[in-house]
Subunit: 216 residues, 2 copies
Amino acid sequence: MADFDYIPQATVYRLSLYHCYIGEMIRAGEDEKNVTSRVLADELDIREETVRRDLSYIGGVGRRGVGYSMGTLFEALSEFLGLYDEYPIVRVGSAQMLRALEVVFPPDAYGVRPVAYFSEQPEDVGTVIGELEVRHVTEIPQHDKDLDVRVALVACSQPWIDPVLEMLSEAGINGVLLLTPKVKLDRPEGMNVRHVRMPCDIKSLACGCKIPVAAV
Amino acid sequence: MADFDYIPQATVYRLSLYHCYIGEMIRAGEDEKNVTSRVLADELDIREETVRRDLSYIGGVGRRGVGYSMGTLFEALSEFLGLYDEYPIVRVGSAQMLRALEVVFPPDAYGVRPVAYFSEQPEDVGTVIGELEVRHVTEIPQHDKDLDVRVALVACSQPWIDPVLEMLSEAGINGVLLLTPKVKLDRPEGMNVRHVRMPCDIKSLACGCKIPVAAV
DNA sequence: TAGATTGTTAATCGATTAACAATC
DNA sequence: TAGATTGTTAATCGATTAACAATC
């Protein structure tokens, strides 16, 4: 088995994409079936060589001539990515945003589970969303570390971004998916922020560029 | 001046990031000032060589020994990206989501302007959000083409994604920023979709990988 | 055995970084 | 002129693709 010094960021992302896909298949009862790199590639709009290369970082998970067993692959992906069923996350945003996100990104369909909701708006405190009581963002540092949460989804209003990131960091959460746009981010030491900048995405999608854009 | 055959996707994205940054500076009244590649790089967490290379795709916009004039650069970026002030966009999602997005991504702060709101929920029809009346998604094909909208922000519930993309395509909109997760996307011919997959981002952020992740 | 599919090594491609000449 | 900063060419780096041997 090959031994790698490092793994590309893009590969980690695709591994989690395979995890989502296989998870969905398994929930649909396809547990026992096999899947090949070709099928995965076709379904997810990737090249099959890329799929094989990606999965080879995990190592020893496929069978030549046969493919990958759904169950085994799912376990291996979970282990490699450090995931487990009902992976706990925290969500930060107004009650309105939290409720809207509940619809758009229903956590149980993806194997994650929100264990705390925080809003920046005082009047949201006490509102119940999906059996969880919304607390104020200033309570983030008192967040129970035993819940072992590593990742937060943040969609608060702009002025709260920096203090919220700081408080999350204090609470031991160092992975953040941030939906609120902000040009210049003040990222706490050691925090891994995946920033979705909607205005930039909109503007680059608009691009009626003078020069053709390179294929991806 | 160099002549390029194509421009990297990543460069287009960063150009729009510079556009956001300079736009913010100009609104703050820094119109007359100059900015250097070093300053841009420091502010936006990029390397200065990258900034210069990016801007060289536009061509003839900087002055050696001086830097880039905010006003000129903004104009050049707008022209190159095909943007203009109050760039029109469409937003699709429940009234709740649309209202929540209004707070998180206030369009006027970024030079874009929503010209139509569509919801997949019949009971949302007629609700007024920011002076715009929400219409039902099935009305998308009747969208007024004179408004010359090219880009949509979509955050509807999962079952509506495919029909909505199809209808947007019919309405002549071929750039979509999609916030709703879905493993397998059915993308209409010629449509450019930037898909934010929150579950995948969450999972890759969680990554307590066995192998170190490559630096970006 | 024949057919299928993985996993790895080598080749290619594309983007970023370094270096520096041009010039304000 | 001296100092600063751009813009371009060359070098590096990293990821993807191609090819194919291994093996189920």
